[in-house]
């Protein structure tokens, strides 16, 4: 008898299944497909926009810079945990026609280059709070598919991988002007270095003369040992300044998250600690 009950069971269950599929077939408009380029999901209603973009209920997405308000302070560059913001700011000249920002601050530095490498950005939103002028903000654009982005020429060392479409140059300064300012800055640095070298040489010479004088004095009075120590302490300038390591990390962040470890970690390895620090709640909400 189980033979026939088996067959009956099979038929009834198959008919049940067919009813289900036909039930979906007769309502084709209840589909779950999102026709992506034509339709997109609504953006979550969280308000992290700042300033002019306050009305945007943005998710963490593409960064944008209102370059007219930028004063070139590099606060965002220092705040970035992944070094994806690169700013070149030079001392302004009267020809640069520097404006007053919407906050009423007089711009004193010419922001010749303001590059954000969105291929390295980790969307932590840590760069927006430090900005004194609220000019770097996050936009609702998370798709990165627009044709009219701010893509411009990138420097040769950034060209090593094919990410040109994700490197954004926000500065309005022309490429020639940028190169000129860069060369000028390099020359100024060279002159400064030469000046320093000359100073150093002069100091060394003076020290030598002093030592010679001291030796003469020592010949006459051999008890004193003080000038020898002075000679050893002279070459201070040979210590390389830590230009690449970022000492100016937001220390508040560290102290908020790990107050008991802050002093030790900052003095030990500030760079690692800063990149490993999770963003706090305050930063998340902007």
């Amino acid at each position: 008898m189980s033979y026939f009950s088996n067959i009956t069971n099979a038929i009834t269950t198959l008919v049940d299944g067919m009813k289900v599929t036909m039930g979906y077939f007769v309502r084709p408009r209840e589909h779950v497909t999102l026709q992506y380029p034509d339709e997109v999901w609504p953006i979550p209603s969280r308000n992290i926009g700042v300033g002019e973009l306050d009305s945007y209920n943005t998710i963490r997405s593409k960064l944008t810079v209102n370059i007219d308000d930028c004063i070139g302070c590099k606060a965002c560059e220092r705040a970035c945990p992944v070094n994806c913001i690169h700013i070149d700011a030079y001392k302004g000249t009267p020809e640069d026609n520097l404006q007053i920002t919407s906050n009423g601050t007089q711009v004193k530095l010419l922001t010749a280059s303001f590059i954000i490498d969105m291929s390295e950005c980790m969307f932590c939103d840590l760069c927006t709070p430090p900005c004194p002028e609220n000019c770097i903000t996050m936009t609702p654009d998370y798709q990165f598919i627009s044709n009219d982005n701010l893509k411009t020429e990138v420097t040769p060392e950034e060209r090593w991988r094919d990410k040109n479409l994700l490197i954004y140059q926000f500065s309005k300064v022309s490429e020639d002007e940028r190169q000129r300012r860069k060369a000028e800055a390099v020359e100024a640095a060279k002159a400064k270095a030469a000046l320093m070298a000359a100073k150093k040489a002069a100091a060394a010479k003076a020290a030598e003369e002093k030592a010679a004088l001291a030796a003469q004095v020592a010949e006459s009075a051999p008890v004193s040992a003080e000038p020898v120590a002075e000679v050893i302490a002279t070459p201070v300038e040979t210590v390389k300044p830590e230009a690449e390591t970022r000492v100016d990390i937001p220390i508040e962040t560290i102290t908020v998250s790990k107050p008991e470890e802050s002093t030790v970690s900052v003095s030990d390895s500030p760079v690692t600690e800063a990149s490993e620090t999770p963003p706090t709640k305050e930063n998340e909400n902007g």
Binding site: M18, T21, G23, R27, R29, E30, H31, V32, Q35
Partner: protein, 415 residues
């Protein structure tokens, strides 16, 4: 059709010097090309509909980007397949690998020579048409075994062996079911079988419901036989839920694992040609082929009114529970009904036999096959054999004997 085409060619004065044999050969070529074009175009259209039907049954949209509603998607796919590299594995048996797909394709296309699309439109009016189709379509398994063996791949070989076992098992119940139909008509000629189903009569001869004289309404046994044949034929053409020869989740792609490009397209073509063949055969054997369901124009009017009323009642009943139900079927039935009442010529056309009804019936069966495919889970190998030998085969034997007894009881035959 070949002979009439040859006569038509010879009827032109310019071409009359060709001679009858040349004209016959020319028309043979033309008809063969027409059949192949029909099969290819049919596959392209059916693939599109299969994808759409599956999408709607899975609450998706299906192809939408190529052409309006994705109508050109399969054309694009076909062009892509034609451009693909022709890869033959190094350790494959080259000869068998090359001729395997062609044997499958030829065996599926050639069967269409005997399919009567209407009372005059058929390539070859054979008096053994049914036997021809059954025997030729069995050659497909030969090509599958060749392809599976030649691939030198364990999945391919598994698929081929499964396919051979499956097709041979299901040939028997399918053949016996066909004998039940042939026993009613007394002929293997498909035209004769269709002509025997004309007119209107009572359901199962005695129950006073006026229905067309189709064999599915001939007797309870033939009613069952229709479903037995549908199940057996679905298994024979390796369609889901009987697709164990190419079961994607177990055997990659079964016997077509190593095939790509054009050769793979041939498999696909033959798959849909086989599905169409089964649909045509079910329509011919059980649903009256090109016969209209209505015997006269009044019948068409009343019949479509009843269909519209039933559909409307069903829609109203279901719509209370189901949101956003499609009302297009009811609307279409309503339009046809109004047109049939307003224009008697339209009703007469509906009541007359023709190619329209043939394709309507075949299309419904193809939709049924798609419905099966996107609803049922695949059978295990032992379950497949169980269904064939222990369920379908006894049922088909009972059907054959039952039909004989039924015909004796109703007085269709006397001993």
């Amino acid at each position: 059709m070949i002979q009439s085409l040859a006569n038509w060619i010879l009827s032109f004065e310019v071409l009359s010097g060709l001679g009858s044999s040349v004209a016959w050969g020319l028309s043979l070529f033309v008809v063969s090309a027409l059949i192949f074009v029909f099969v290819a175009a049919n596959a392209i259209i059916l693939v599109y509909f299969e994808r759409k039907v599956s999408a709607f049954m899975q609450v998706r949209l299906g192809p939408m980007r190529v052409g309006k509603f994705g109508t050109l998607q399969t054309v694009a796919d076909a062009l892509k397949l034609l451009q693909k590299e022709d890869i033959i594995p190094r350790s494959a048996d080259k000869v068998l690998f090359i001729i395997g797909p062609w044997i499958i394709l030829i065996a599926s296309v050639v069967t269409f020579a005997a399919i009567p699309f209407s009372d005059s439109l058929l390539a070859a009016n054979m008096n053994i048409g049914l036997f021809y189709i059954v025997s030729i379509s069995s050659i497909v398994v030969l090509g599958i075994v060749m392809a599976g063996w030649a691939s030198n791949n364990k999945w391919s070989l598994y698929g081929a062996m499964r396919s051979a076992a499956q097709v041979i098992s299901y040939e028997i119940p399918v053949g016996i079911t066909l004998i039940a139909v042939v026993a009613v008509v007394g002929s293997l000629n498909l035209q004769t079988i269709i002509q025997a189903q004309g007119g209107t009569g009572n359901l199962f001869h005695w129950i006073p419901i006026p229905l067309p004289n189709w064999f599915i309404f001939h007797s309870p046994f033939l009613f069952l036989a229709a479903f037995v044949y549908l199940i057996g034929a679905t298994a024979e053409i390796n369609r889901t839920p009987f697709d164990i020869p190419e079961s994607e989740s177990e055997l990659v792609a079964g016997f077509m694992t190593e095939f790509s490009g054009l050769r793979w397209a041939l498999f696909f073509l033959s798959e849909y040609a086989n599905a169409t063949l089964v649909a045509f055969l079910v329509s011919i054997l059980f649903l009256g082929g090109w016969q209209s369901p209505f015997s006269n124009y009044a019948g068409a009017q009343i019949g479509f009114t009843i269909i519209t009323l039933v559909a409307a009642m069903w829609t109203v009943f279901v719509k209370a529970k189901v949101n956003r139900l499609s009302i297009y079927p009811v609307g279409l039935a309503l339009i046809i009904t109004i047109a049939a009442w307003l224009f008697p010529g339209f009703a007469i056309w509906l009541a007359s036999p023709g190619i329209f009804w043939m394709f309507m019936k075949a299309g419904s069966i193809i939709f049924l096959l798609m419905w099966f495919r996107w609803t049922f889970p695949r059978l295990r190998v032992d379950q497949l054999m169980y269904v064939s030998w222990k369920v379908i085969l006894p049922l088909s034997l009972i059907n054959l004997m039952g039909v004989a007894v039924w015909m004796w009881l109703t007085g269709e035959i006397q001993f």
